[in-house]
């Protein structure tokens, strides 16, 4: 059935629900829309995809013996590079920091503007949008696509379907390929992939990422948001009456009904029940049912509705981006009020600032040298023949610079102990050892501490190893224990 707006009757997924315990897939045919939010969505999509595809190609001079890629997670060598930042495995807590920032940022933005992450920036949304654009180019818009799917098999149908899946696979391969580049030197890996010289691992991951992109963005689409993604299930906990969300002004729209040109609007709502909002929705819901978990907040229904309102010479914004509070205010004719600063947004932003400050501070002040001290567990201590007590330690010096560095190892807080570094027995008399660590490596040394019997103080005595880099006099202290009988 085609209505006066030239579209087949749209049914939301709710209306098409099956009675069985298991639901058949209700295919969603989103209609092409034009408008502010659609333009915003295209812009965001282009910017994000641009960043995604270009970032691995940015070069960054790090000097000799280091990769020139600005963004690189180098698994084999256990380093991660982000512009001027170089992360070592034991600094993986920066990842925790980034995840924390991401989570709090997401919560913060959601409390202010609803599900803008879902609607505009989530990779699932971005790639699905791109795939739908391809689909629309090849198979036509909503009504045409629905008819096309119902049409009997023919060679032209087969050609079009093949073309669509072909283009999807190409995009998926480009997406999967770009992901590989974040983990390998981009120019090298591209040449290797194209010439068949890349490792089986690279081809495996290439195939995996291509397949997931193709399946998730091409086939699964809204199913990911509705059934797989945990985020919609608790995002409403971040909403309050001052959160900007996609809403339907039911006070103005209801009672809805078809409208004939020239008739009066008296005694009825502005909603003409054209179902353009349903037709435009990428998750196939009816926004007029209110806030629901399937709504990704992409605001395409607003664009669709505004177009109809424009044609009917009615004020736009029957579906609009607004807060619950203002919805009520509008209904009662009260002035609108926007509250961006609320207790929850203050807490979220303070959290954001704190985490970001801690991260920046720790990145700015982190040392280029570090030591790990491992006290021997077996035996905890050894009694030597003259009665003195010896403890063994494994010391790892982490040199995070690009040059070989020389260090001075000393200790403090352990009285008359004698320190010996295995292989450097000469230095024992001074209790200071001169050690070296090659560029960008971890050097391991065995160290023995001997305390004369009569000077051992109890079972456990705390003391520090002190490592000083000779050139810069950068000093690191690490506390450890000396164990006695």
């Amino acid at each position: 059935m085609v209505d006066i707006y030239g579209n087949a009757d749209a049914q939301s997924r709710q209306e098409q629900k099956h009675e069985s315990l298991y639901q058949n897939r209700v295919k969603v045919y989103p209609k092409k829309v034009a408008g502010t939010f659609r333009r915003l969505k295209w812009t965001v999509l282009i910017v994000l995809l641009g960043i995604y595809y270009i970032a691995p190609w940015i070069r960054w001079d790090r000097g000799p013996n280091a990769p020139d890629q600005a963004f690189l997670i180098d698994m084999p060598h256990r380093r991660a590079y982000f512009l001027w930042i170089e992360i070592w495995p034991q600094e993986i807590y920066y990842l925790a920091g980034i995840l924390l920032l991401g989570a709090v940022g997401l919560i913060f933005v959601t409390s202010l503007f609803g599900r803008v992450w879902c609607g505009y920036t989530c990779p699932q949304t971005v790639w699905t949008d791109l795939f739908m654009w391809v689909e629309r180019l090849i198979e036509g818009d909503r009504t045409k696509r629905m008819r096309f799917d119902k049409a009997p098999a023919s060679s032209s149908k087969l050609t079009k379907k093949a073309a669509k899946h072909g283009v999807w696979l190409i995009i998926a391969a480009l997406t999967g390929g770009a992901w590989i580049m974040y983990f390998n030197d981009a120019p090298t890996v591209v040449v290797n992939i194209l010439t068949g010289q890349a490792s089986l691992k690279v081809y495996g991951f290439f195939a995996l990422f291509t397949a997931t992109t193709y399946l998730l963005a091409g086939w699964a689409r809204e199913q990911v948001c509705v059934y797989m993604c945990p985020w919609p299930r608790f995002q409403s906990a971040m909403f309050d009456e001052d959160t900007m969300i996609v809403t339907y002004e039911s006070w103005r729209g209801e009672p809805r009904g078809k409208h004939k040109k020239g008739t009066s609007w008296e005694g009825r709502g502005h909603c003409v029940d054209c179902k353009q909002c349903v037709a435009a929705c990428p998750t196939g819901i009816d926004i007029r049912d209110g806030v629901q978990l399937e709504c990704i907040g992409c605001a395409l229904c607003i664009d669709a509705c505004n177009e109809i309102m424009g044609r009917l010479d009615l004020p736009r914004g029957l579906i609009s981006y607004d807060t619950d509070r203002n919805l009520a205010n509008k209904a009662e004719g009260k002035p609108l009020r926007y509250r961006l600063i609320r207790p929850r947004t203050i807490i979220y932003s303070v959290l954001l600032v704190v985490v970001a400050t801690v991260m920046v501070w720790s990145l700015a002040t982190r040392a280029q040298v570090d030591i790990n001290v491992l006290h021997d567990r077996n035996p905890l201590f050894v009694t030597l023949s003259d009665g003195s007590i010896r403890n063994g330690y494994t010391i790892k010096i982490l040199n995070m610079t690009r040059e070989e560095k020389a260090y001075k190892l000393a200790f403090e807080g352990l009285g008359y102990a004698e320190m010996t570094v295995v292989g450097q027995e000469d230095s024992a008399s001074q209790n200071i050892a001169r050690l070296t660590a090659g560029s960008d490596t971890v050097a391991t040394y065995r160290v023995f501490m001997v305390v004369p019997a009569d000077l051992v103080q109890g079972e456990v005595q705390d003391f520090n190893f002190v490592l000083t880099e000779l050139q810069s006099s950068e000093t690191v202290r690490r506390g450890t224990v000396f164990r006695g009988p």
Binding site: H18, L21, Y22, R25, R377, P379, V382, T383, G387
Partner: protein, 283 residues
């Protein structure tokens, strides 16, 4: 089984027909593809079980896993063989001085030690009463690479003709009386610098010269040739109190260590030697 499917008045949604104490369950159907994936994983797991794990007692189904294990071990052995050949050809000192071989020997010796030696000598050679500490600087049969190698090969007090062998007399068998043993113990304690009854120690010194010097040497410095421990240090195998020492003189205990020449291959024994030598007390 669902009995009465009806529409819920509030939500307008179907119920599943299940009802518990008046509460009706709404039907929020799971997608079919989800169900299919569940079945696919179930089917996969059945196949995967047969592929991956043996079924006890069922001939044939043990083979895949066992074959894979054997392959893995064969590969590992092949990779190790390069080093093992070098170790077989090298002198002990050469192994110690070559960083690459030392690294391999430390790993191989360490795991052999954990398997064979740690039950008595403790992890890392920590030792226990009656079982010498291998990480200190006191040695009964010598702490050089050669001496350690010899001890591991043939053991201590075994039937092996080349075994380390020493036995201390039981002085309680009518040679010394209780008070004499006490005096000797006082003297032995004084050797390691502990405060004792001087008169008793002086009497003990005379007895020591007569009975003990032949093995433990003048001043109790010990004799590694005979496996007589040094008595003038702070390391005590059977305990360092006066009672411990008296007990050891009266009726000595003698530890036994098996020889490993027939149980471990020569390369492993070499690696063990180097490993023990590097525990901290090697001479």
């Amino acid at each position: 089984m669902p009995t009465k499917i009806e529409k819920d008045a509030v939500t307008g949604q179907d119920t599943t027909g299940h009802e518990w104490d008046g509460i009706k369950e709404l039907n929020n159907p799971l997608p079919k593809w989800w169900l299919y994936i569940l079945w696919a994983t179930v089917i996969w797991s059945i196949g995967y079980y047969f592929w991956s794990s043996p079924i006890p007692g069922v001939e044939g189904f043990q083979e895949p896993a066992r074959e894979r294990l054997e392959q893995t071990m064969a590969t590992a052995r092949e990779q190790q063989s390069v080093f093992l050949e070098k170790i077989a050809a090298a002198q002990l000192e050469e192994i110690r001085d070559d960083p690459e071989l030392l690294n391999f020997a430390m790993a191989g010796g360490g795991s052999a030690f954990a398997d064979n030696c740690a039950p008595c000598h403790g992890q890392g050679g920590a030792g226990a009463p009656g079982f010498p500490t291998l990480a200190d600087d006191a040695w009964i049969w010598g702490g050089t690479l050669e001496a350690i190698h010899e001890t591991i090969l043939h053991g201590v007090r075994t039937d092996d003709i080349q075994s380390r062998y020493s036995e201390m007399m039981a002085f309680g068998d009518g040679i010394l009386d209780r008070s004499q043993v006490s005096d000797v113990a006082d003297y032995v304690l004084s050797l390691s610098g502990q405060s004792v009854d001087r008169d008793a120690a002086a009497r003990g010194e005379v007895l020591f010269e007569e009975n003990c010097v032949a093995c433990h040497a003048e001043g109790g410095v010990g004799d590694m040739e005979q496996g007589a421990p040094a008595l003038n240090n702070q390391v005590w195998l059977y305990g360092g109190t006066k009672a411990d020492i008296e007990a050891q003189i009266w009726r000595p205990q003698h530890g036994v260590m098996p020889g490993w020449v027939d149980r471990l291959d020569p390369e492993t024994i070499k690696m063990l030697t180097v490993y023990v030598h590097t525990l901290g007390g090697g001479q």
